[in-house]
Symmetry: C2
Subunit: 615 residues, 2 copies
């Protein structure tokens, strides 16, 4: 097998409790790389159009790429792929930490689950045995408690555990799958709800194997160069120091941070004092007690939070997306409330973006009288109400009272509420938008409308490229006019394709977003060191394009039409803080053309699919 791959896929039929092993096809590895590429191919081939997300014929696939878990810096990710219960389309989520590297060390590139156990089980993988274990004792536990209990009972303190909390068990449609003591989470698209549906509480892994590397000398030299760059480049050093909150101020300035469900420009009174209470370093810095890292990552953007009033000691510090989602987007200016909501989501196993966005949606419905205290169980669900925020997170995880409605996500909740509430659901294809207001950069609007998985920021968001990208990427001029639609179709396509390649290979996206590697060629060199395969940037882009089209084809197979490639109406008709609307119509046809898709239907043409080897 090619270097970087364990070369094996583990198959677990939960209905029959049968475990088997397959060889990972080398031609698939070359064609779809890994991560959501190879997993996407399995999903496309095996899940019929008639299968729902909550269906024994859905698949839940944990997957790594060839650079995952090797000595390549910043490549500690794993992803989870499934048909999403939020969107009904291709769903994936990705997480850092150490779980993915551990899986690779256990001798498997991926695990494919199908069926549904009649009782709660967990999968335990180590070098001795791979087995399904009764998980009834852990059912009902939060993810952190379960993680610790499972390792204790297995007698393997060093095992790594991916485990759902109560949200996944209760089929909250935006439940994720936490790992590493619930400090990292594969959050988006409801992957944790599919795990809950399958009665699969956890996947615990302990591995001792080392994966074969084709050119270890080259890998050492590339890794050293990258590490030197990370520890000396001023921008990367800032990112290491501040973490993802480094970008909060800048994003705020340009009108990118959503405020009160994207309905306002500021919160907390004149002069935005709310923002100052959150921004790094003055606000956010007050609760930060240190940093953490993922597998082989000299960047170490993870934070540790600690503050006097907390009874939890040191917890994982909230990321930018989480601060924005529970903060400005819900009109909240208390960083401690945000940190608390963040940790609750981690242990319940909830996606903080969808949770915050769905609560912000409900707050706007409440303020506009579409729902009242009779609905919320007496809670005054207004923007800025910190107690109501925390209370609602609990209710969602347990599907209690009004939480039972919000647990369906904002799209479904808006239709349950009716009376025009759909206008307030900030989602695309059912997935709540990441915390970037695309009215601040046109390419972002196009991307949000067209990403196969819904309103994602991790499939090729062009924020940096339309603003202040510190260097040209892939021959695209930097700092394109963010308010112009010109050239955005091509920009979005290229960034999406590049993102698909590096994600499938196993890199953390911040490697690219934060320019943590010296140049794009560093990715290819590291890839070559591991796999022995030398790609040009064009070749890598073609592979990314293939993977992107594969996800799109899954959606077409499962009923997607051009109507699904759109944005919440608000973004098309109401000006945002940046003074603009998204002019989607000006870009969409051009984008389809750039992708070689039918310009009317937005469907990949047979010719293009044939070019990409997807026919």
């Amino acid at each position: 097998m090619i270097g970087g791959y364990a070369g094996k896929i583990l198959r677990v039929n939960l209905s029959r409790r049968k475990i088997s092993t397959e060889v990972l096809s080398e031609s698939w590895a070359r064609k779809y790389i890994g991560g959501y590429g190879t997993a996407g191919k399995i999903l496309y081939d095996e899940v019929p159009a008639w299968a729902d997300a909550f269906d024994p014929e859905n698949r839940l696939i944990f997957s790594t790429g060839p650079v995952s878990g090797t000595g390549v810096p910043t490549a500690g990710r794993h992803c989870v792929v499934t048909k999403s219960p939020l969107t009904g389309f291709f769903g994936d989520a990705s997480a850092g930490g150490f779980w993915g590297a551990e899986l690779k060390s256990s001798g498997y590139d991926s695990i494919v689950f199908n069926g549904r156990s009649s009782k709660p089980v967990l999968l335990w993988i180590d070098d001795v045995a791979t087995e399904l274990v009764d998980a009834q004792p852990y059912w009902g536990m939060d993810a952190r408690t379960a993680d610790r209990a499972i390792r204790k009972d297995l007698g393997e303190a060093g095992a790594r555990v991916a485990v759902i909390g109560q949200a996944g068990e209760n089929l909250v449609r935006f439940a994720g799958i936490p790992n590493d003591e619930a400090n990292r989470i594969a959050a988006r698209c409801g992957v944790g709800a599919v795990m809950g549906y399958m009665n699969l509480k956890a996947v615990a892994v302990k591995g001792e194997r080392r994966v074969h590397i084709e050119r270890p000398d080259l890998l050492r030299s590339v890794a050293s160069e990258i590490t030197r760059f990370v520890t000396s480049d001023p921008h990367v050093k800032s990112f290491t120091k501040a973490g993802t909150m480094l970008y909060f101020d800048l994003n705020w300035e340009i009108g990118d941070v959503p405020v009160c469900n994207l309905s306002r420009s500021d919160f907390g009174g004149p002069g935005d004092p709310g923002v100052q209470k959150l921004a790094y370093p003055d606000g956010y810095g007050k609760i930060i007690a240190g940093k953490r890292t993922c597998h082989v990552c000299p960047v170490s953007c993870r934070r540790v939070a600690s503050y006097p009033a907390s009874d939890k000691g040191e917890i994982e510090g909230p990321e930018y997306e989480t601060v924005a989602s529970f903060g400005p987007n819900c009109g909240i200016d208390s960083i401690r409330t945000i940190a608390e909501a963040s940790d609750l989501c981690n242990i319940y196993g909830l996606d903080t973006i969808s949770t915050g966005s769905t609560i912000a949606f409900a707050m706007e419905c409440y303020e506009n009288g579409l729902i009242d205290k009779a609905d919320t169980g007496g809670v005054e669900l207004t923007f800025g109400n910190a107690d109501a925020l925390i209370d609602t997170v609990h209710r969602i995880a347990h599907r209690e009272g009004f939480g039972n409605i919000l647990a369906e996500g904002s799209r479904r909740a808006s239709r349950i509420i009716g009376n025009g509430a759909e206008y307030y659901a900030m989602q695309v294809k059912g997935l709540e938008l990441a915390m970037h207001d695309p009215r601040a950069f046109q390419g972002g609007g196009l991307h949000f409308a067209c990403t196969p998985t819904g309103g994602r920021h991790t499939e090729g968001l062009t924020l940096g490229h339309e603003l202040v990208k510190t260097r040209p990427l892939l021959g695209i001029p930097v700092a394109l006019d963010r308010f112009s639609t010109q050239g955005k179709a091509r920009l979005v396509k290229i960034v999406e394709d590049w993102t698909a390649f590096i994600s499938a290979a196993g890199w953390c996206l911040f490697t690219d977003d934060a320019n943590a590697y010296p140049t794009e060629k560093s990715f290819l060199l590291a890839y070559e060191a591991v796999t022995g395969i030398a790609f040009t940037i064009e070749q890598a882009l073609t592979i990314g394009e293939r993977i992107f089209n594969l996800k799109k084809c899954f959606n077409i197979k499962h009923g997607a039409t051009r109507n699904d490639d759109t944005l919440p109406k608000r973004l098309l008709i109401e000006k945002g803080k940046a003074g603009n609307i998204v002019k989607l119509d000006e870009m969409l046809g051009e984008y389809y053309q750039a992708r070689g898709w039918n310009p009317n239907s937005g469907t990949p043409t047979p010719e293009r699919l044939s070019c990409l080897g997807l026919d």
Copy 2:
């Protein structure tokens, strides 16, 4: 409002626990009649393509037609409409008894449920109040026990209750909704599982209102004439005497009764002694103790079964479909075992056709070594094993062990089992075929392939018309050569359209199948008496065609393609008892053409939809 209608629709949002009333649009009543016509229009309009069957955005609609619950004989039916968890397409089921008439008397034509309650509830409707009542005390009860307990607790012995058993609670994909002490059941398409998903245990109704009749004198005279006919016509009298088992012998002779999952021609040894133990009167007659009726039905085809070894006293006698499904199709020759399995299905709330067919599928898998005792929990699941049959029914209802796999229906179970098991799943679009082997009559094969809801016998099966229909129907010559494909496309279309009309109006299908009315014009005269609207047969057929196309359009919206219009491969390549295969290819294009659909894609053309007022 037009006569025959209560004129109101009850809306119940289970997520918000809100109940409201809407006026039934008169133009809809004229266009879609009622039953699954008007309910289908609501389903089409309101359920988005992305909503699954188990989804708060699905709808569960109980619906009656204008002749339901009036003095029109043989019109005591109600239907339940939803997106089916078995097929992902249009789902409906229909039941006799008295519940539908009671609903009409309560002042509503239909009830539309959406959302999902966070706790088990039941809906209670009487002339005083309409309210959601805590149903936690009844959760876990079988349908008959729950029916009695609910009426007792409500203090309304005369109320009529539609209530799911454990199968619906456990989301068995072919759970139905029993009514009238679980002796009748809206069985097909998994409607009971949707009710279970919604946490709706029951709908209890007590009504005192009489619906307005446009021409009471005409109704009296039509009803008298029909009753006279029923009580004097020799054929109808035979049907009254034997019930649906009247047809068992004839169906057996022509090779229509499926044997051992449609894989054999006989069972129980040479000369089919198994059949003799089941046939009426010698076999079936031994357990029959009397008959029962539905609302205003002089036919009274329902049976009462009683036999010494039973500890249940008098139970509802199994119908033809049930006897065939658990009998020859599972290789079982014990009428008592069949009666016991039948009653278990009634109280658990299981569709006997899908249950028997799914067990027969599993038996064939077992006999061919695709599954073994490790799968079945030690049960020897061979054809003819009566104990295994009963045991498996229990396991399915409770999703215990192997029952957890079979509870998904044969299509999903076959894919979970893998290794070619799909060949043994006798289903179309996921719905198990009714107990008629279409290799015995080509038109039946075409119809099974094309019915929007899957393998149904109640949407226009042409069995009678290809065999021994005692009189011409709608200008179609009777006794067409059943082995020829000629003329079948037109025949199937007309029978489907006529069936859609009389079903939507509220008639029991046996009125037509058993020729219980003097002529087809009797239907139109009764319809006119109730509604004041005089239709020609052509007008009625156009309405039926509209309703049929509406169901088809729902499927297209939810992703159906021409590939869904097919049959289990066995029926296309393996000769049945009648010595034939189904020559589907010879008929399908002609059928699409007869329907005015695109002959390649099988999609209704805009022109035809416009003609039908569906644009």
